[in-house]
């Protein structure tokens, strides 16, 4: 038997260290000139990894209060569509409207008015979901959603960390100076949503010019951004205005 299996706390400690590292790199990110979509992408990836989740997604509300997926651990339509169902009638919209975390430890028990979400989630192999509001004082700007393959509540320690992630994401979207002014707040929120629009457009450009799938195109965008140390929103904007060609 390995040491790790004998002493599960070691695994726990490692996890605490990963959490600390994540917060440290978040703090680094926030003081720099950062790309909001990159930040949110890092958060959902870290959530999935640390909280034993199969998938995670962040949705933000536009000026009409409509929620859109801005970052998700998978770009596959399965997850994006499921999140959209949750935003129509499901945990996501409830967390957004009430400003409170909504946990469904067993999706089979989800209420009838969430039937479309419930059936899609089960068909996609998800058994439990948590929707955490992203809140700044009284304003809710979106939700962080965690999906797990097996039923059961989120570990209480994980819940604390996940809420902290949601708060960091909120701060990341609304920089400090926006706190005073709601017009600027709406603008910055819209900025994050617009970045997502441009990323989708860039995926289309790359899928067409490279002859690859939409998902593969997203991976190419991420790889290019990472290799060249650029924010993914900037890479996407340059591809859409045709000043950058990944093939060149």
């Amino acid at each position: 038997m390995s040491e790790l299996e004998q002493r599960p706390t070691v695994g726990g400690l490692t996890r605490e260290r990963r959490l600390m590292e994540t917060f440290a790199s978040l703090a680094d990110t926030l003081v720099d000139d950062y790309d909001v979509v990159d930040l949110l992408q890092m958060l959902v990836d870290t959530c999935a990894e640390l909280f034993d989740s199969t998938a995670a997604a962040i949705l933000l509300a536009d000026e009409h209060g409509e929620l859109d997926v801005v970052a998700s651990t998978s770009e596959a339509s399965r997850l994006v569509e499921l999140m959209q169902l949750s935003a129509d009638a499901g945990p996501c919209i409830e967390a957004y409207q009430t400003g409170r975390m909504v946990s469904v430890a067993d999706i089979r028990d989800a209420p009838e008015q969430w039937r479309r979400f419930r059936e899609s989630a089960l068909a996609a192999g998800f058994a439990a979901v948590d929707a955490i509001p992203m809140r700044l004082r009284t304003t809710v700007i979106g939700t962080l959603n965690l999906l797990r393959a097996s039923p059961g509540a989120l570990d209480p320690h994980d819940e604390v960390a996940a809420r902290a992630f949601a708060d960091v994401a909120t701060i990341g979207i609304l920089h400090e100076r926006s706190l005073r002014e709601s017009a600027v707040l709406a603008e910055q929120l819209q900025g994050a949503l617009n970045s997502r629009v441009v990323i989708e457009q860039a995926k289309g450009v790359v899928a067409h010019t490279r002859g690859v799938s939409i998902d593969a195109a997203f991976q190419l965008l991420r790889d290019y951004a990472r290799t060249n140390r650029m924010g993914i929103s900037r890479v996407a904007a340059q591809i859409v205005n045709r000043s950058l060609d990944l093939d060149a």
Binding site: G204, I214, R242
Partner: protein, 236 residues
């Protein structure tokens, strides 16, 4: 004409999206012509004069509609501008009925510029001159650029009027598909994202299909827009 006058005219056009009565003036400011008219022609948006700088310009439009011939029809069919510096002599062979109808009117030259958005040919701008003259290469290019701005305004207004604006896009997921399809089209036609989206919207309208369905076909490659020597076309 100085470049700044052209820039000013182009900017003025960009600003007058919602007011067709402002579409003609910028052409008169930049080009050596007497009058201008803007009209939709064809099956997509019907044949209608949207704006005319004077009664003569309006009449030239009307005559062409009634006779089914004239520079605006040729511009629309060919997808490129048509210059007729001398309307009566060479023009009579090309448009016998139209040339005969305007023989006694103070119209020496006519120039027509098609209104085109991507693969959609939606109308034309007619310019006329009382005194004989032509448009040189630079004037023609400037008029082409101004016609492109008017084209987008006209299509957008028409789509809005029939309720085919962005609400059509539906849920967040279908919006995503439309953004992705916009990327395909802007790469296929070398357009801005805004124009590429308008192309999808216009194509959906022309085909009487939901925008989302057209977007899916673009992503799947069943609809492909391509630039060809004789203009832009959609296959699929």
């Amino acid at each position: 004409m100085a470049r700044s006058a052209f820039s000013a005219a182009l900017e003025a056009l960009e600003r007058t999206a919602e007011a067709p009565e402002g579409y003609c003036r910028p052409f008169l400011d930049v080009l050596p012509v007497s009058g201008a008219s803007v009209s939709t022609i064809g099956d997509l948006l019907g044949s209608e004069t949207l704006a005319a700088s004077d009664a003569q310009a309006a009449r030239l439009d009307e005559l062409q509609f009634d006779l089914g011939e004239g520079p605006c029809w040729d511009a629309l069919r060919s997808g490129t501008h048509v210059l007729a510096p001398v309307l009566q002599e060479p023009g009579r062979a090309r448009w016998p009925a139209f040339a005969a109808a305007v023989r006694d009117e103070p119209v020496s030259s006519m120039f027509a510029f098609p209104l085109i958005v991507g693969p959609l040919r939606i109308g034309a701008i007619d310019l006329y001159s009382e005194s004989p003259g032509t448009l040189d290469g630079r004037h023609a290019r400037q008029a082409d650029a101004m016609a492109a701005v008017v084209s987008r305004h006209v299509l957008r207004r028409a789509l809005n009027a029939v309720g085919r604006h962005d609400e059509d896009a539906g849920s967040g997921y279908s919006r995503r598909l439309i953004h992705q399809a916009t990327g395909f089209v802007l790469a296929q036609l070398d357009l801005t994202a805004e124009d590429a989206r308008l192309v999808i919207q216009g194509h959906a309208f022309a085909a009487e299909r939901p925008m989302m369905a057209v977007a899916q076909d673009i992503i799947d490659g069943t609809i492909v827009f391509s630039r060809r020597s004789d203009g832009i076309e959609a296959t699929g």
